[in-house]
Symmetry: C3
Subunit: 363 residues, 3 copies
């Protein structure tokens, strides 16, 4: 399928210049581009690669001298990554999942399948599950009993959704997503060493060894509209109420969302981040890769955590955090610089001790 420069520019709301009828069939990095490709060169450093390839058209920043780059047409977009969103949506070739319901799928007769739903080979749909209109259920997906999945969902292969989950419109799940595993919640008959160590900040005392009793998950998972979850990520069931993920939130690969957690709207949880049980994440929060949030904490709206941050106490709204334990990023940077200066400080102190106390300098 091909698209004219004019049509692409119109679709993404950008200006087009040159031969607007020129058609392209895919997007490429500038050096790799063939004559039917749109070279993606929004950043000036990529413009220099255009002559290395054979592109006749490119996506450029406004003001770029497209003719000097040897192009016949260009699309000029002031915010490059925003233009990327539009162009890639237009050119996405997709997974080629076949329309319709594959004969090998195992669908409970009480399930309600909306109009235009496609269900891939060997998918399993449980009793009373409701699949919203236009949804695509990939091969080998398992949808549990009483699940309500909104319209326009796109589930890649091998996704599972546990019983009673409720999911809004346009849900996207990458391969291997696990919604609705039971929460990790155990208790000892008597006070445990962990409870003691938390209370004392480090001393578990003489608590005896005990076995763990299971607290079952009676809650499920509720997810808003326009949520996307990455490959092999896990969202656990709540204990009494549902674990909750707000509309517009995007979750990367291998992320863990624990039982009872509430994640607000329009958050980003980057790869391998984890949020422990019963914590609340506000709206528009960004957790960098491998960030951890302890249990029963509150992370305010608009908080940003750099990659690797371990949040061990509540964070007020708007903070930019870093470190283990997490502190404000500028405090982290100051402490880091101070640590780097420590050997010099130690030498200064030795010299002072020698001068003041007539000490021999220490190491």
């Amino acid at each position: 399928m091909t698209h004219s420069i004019k049509a692409i520019a119109a679709a993404i709301g950008a200006e087009a210049v040159g031969d607007l009828g020129l058609t392209i069939s895919r997007a490429s990095e500038p050096a790799d581009a063939g004559p039917d490709d749109l070279a993606m060169a929004m950043a000036p450093k990529f413009q220099a690669d255009i002559p290395k390839g054979r592109a006749r058209a490119a996506l450029l920043a406004p003001g770029a001298d497209w003719q000097a780059l040897g192009l016949r047409a260009a699309i000029l977009a002031p915010r490059g990554r925003l233009a990327m969103a539009g162009v890639t949506a237009l050119l996405d070739p997709g997974q080629h999942f076949a329309p319709g319901i594959h004969a090998s799928a195992v669908i409970d007769p009480t399930a309600e399948i909306g109009d235009g739903v496609s269900i891939g080979p060997l998918a399993v749909i449980g009793a009373r599950a409701r699949i919203g209109a236009g949804s695509v259920i990939g091969p080998h997906c398992v949808i549990g009993a009483d699940v309500a999945l909104g319209p326009g969902a796109f589930l890649r292969e091998l996704v599972s959704i546990g019983a009673r989950a409720t999911i809004g419109a346009r849900f996207i799940a990458q391969p291997g997503v696990r919604i609705g595993g039971d929460g990790f919640s155990f208790v000892t008959p008597e006070v445990s060493g962990v409870e003691m160590a938390r209370a004392t900040l480090g001393d578990q005392g003489e608590t005896k060894a005990q076995a763990w009793l299971r607290i079952h998950s009676l809650g499920s998972v509720t997810i808003g509209d326009d949520v996307e979850i990455g490959a092999n990520s896990t969202v656990d069931n709540g204990t009494i109420r549902d674990t909750f993920i707000g509309s517009g939130t995007k979750i990367d690969s291998l992320v863990q969302v624990g039982h009872n957690v509430r994640v607000g709207t329009d958050c980003l949880l980057c790869a391998q981040a984890g949020v422990a049980g019963s914590s609340e994440i506000g709206n528009n929060v960004v957790l960098g890769g491998q960030t951890g949030v302890g249990d029963n904490l509150i992370v305010g709206d608009r908080v940003i955590a750099a990659g690797g941050t371990k949040i061990l106490s509540n964070v007020p709204e708007g903070r930019v955090m870093m470190g283990y334990p997490a502190v404000k990023m500028d405090a982290f940077t100051e402490a880091y610089k101070a640590i780097r200066r420590l050997p010099r400080l130690a030498r200064d102190i030795s010299a002072l001790k020698k001068a003041v106390f007539k000490d021999e300098p220490t190491e």
Copy 2:
């Protein structure tokens, strides 16, 4: 299904007061509770929410003035989370997996299926596998050749168990658990940079670039009784002997247990924790979320590691650990406070240098 207050109290061994014949059908958070719900309000802060809902019965701490809260009945439990274990076990609605063996399951004729086993749609059971009586094998599970799975197992959807694994009674596996992937074990023909860097603590010398040769996993995985493993967690095969997980140990989501690891009894491994190859974890150990344990280490009985801890050397029994590298939690706290005071120390040193040496103050 409904339960009387009297029956619930008896089942969990707690005291009941008020109208003991009142029946409830599910548990709820107090503010959400309807008239047929048991409001879960063991902590005082939740009691205040009871009037916001419509509960007629609640689970409360002993001494709570249940009549003043407008309730008709109450269950009084001295250890709230312990009562939760009992109540949630009673009220768990489960996944509605159908009994019996689904016609679409692919079961090797040499497999031995115990009495009362249910096997879900599209599950695969390998040659000579033995499935203990009363086990539930969820949809799309894959049980390898020669696996021995004890009685009363409950495997959610899409769980896999590799060939020759041996698993005790009442095993619970959440969706996507992977038992028996091969261990990650490679060797270079000559000494590698990693070996040099470990020996010298940081200098890999002039070792040349080499390819990695695979050490195959001849061992499998042995798991005791009453073990639970969380969604998408992985337990790798041993190299010569089996990787081992002791009875009563509970493992959360996205946890990695490497080859040859031995985990003792009644441990908790929280989400995204990882234990590298050949390490030994004692009994009653708790590893917080995102904890890492390096390879070939020994972690003693009753050790507790706070979330995010990176254990890089052996840990004696009973220690409460934190940090990267892990130290005792009180040492971590002391170091952390000292780092926060560093800018002030640096200013003190500048002032001293000026006074003693007549220096200009440094930054």
Copy 3:
């Protein structure tokens, strides 16, 4: 199946001594060994265990007094783990996946299946996928449309490969591997708080809350020859070009490789490591367990990162790194020691202040 000592020694290129015709059927740890087992005792500490078992033959370091250990035969190997590679390859009993194509597999008629390929129960092969000769596709694998998988692949159960991925020869994927989930790439219509915080190193300013627009992944994944990927690991699609993993690279369990990442040849990425979008990892790089690499970074050839390292800036080739943020391991060690000495330094400063300024000592 049994092997003579002579045959094993020849296969791994090592010296054999004693009764070369003695046959063994498996490898064991010395204390567990039966009379038909080869005791694996390359390290001196394991030799002492030989008399605890019943081994008649062992794999030993050169110079070991095998007769004094009561053995009838021995294989003497100067580099123990290298010998392990050879012995374990010979004795690996495998997964017992049946040869041929299982009747329950769902194979698109346009797929090209090479000679001698075996495809397990309930596997799904998409349109125009090409499966190289001699490959083994495990039960429940899902191979997407237009995938090119080289010869000799071995895919364990429940592996998925997204559309258009290109994979070289002898690929090994452990259970639950996810190749080709879409990359995690989103943009706000206007400048976001994250962009501001990155530019200012901590201040997100007054940016307003915005929803995230999706940047689709048009690229796929390209993987070289002799690559192995561990259980439940994820490799995401590239945005415009393919995400790339070089030949000979080995990836452990629960590792995340983000969109556009380039990993060189012969790298090791240990368990739960993560590489964020668009970063480049050189050749022969080793990332320890739970290592994180930020986005858009360059990690040079032969870099070694200790477990838990968080790499937040470019790393020159050959460096051995540790810490958060990552620094050279010797700098990390020096800083760590300095932090441990901080309480003493603080006391020294108090004493100096008292002596110089006649201050009361501070805490």
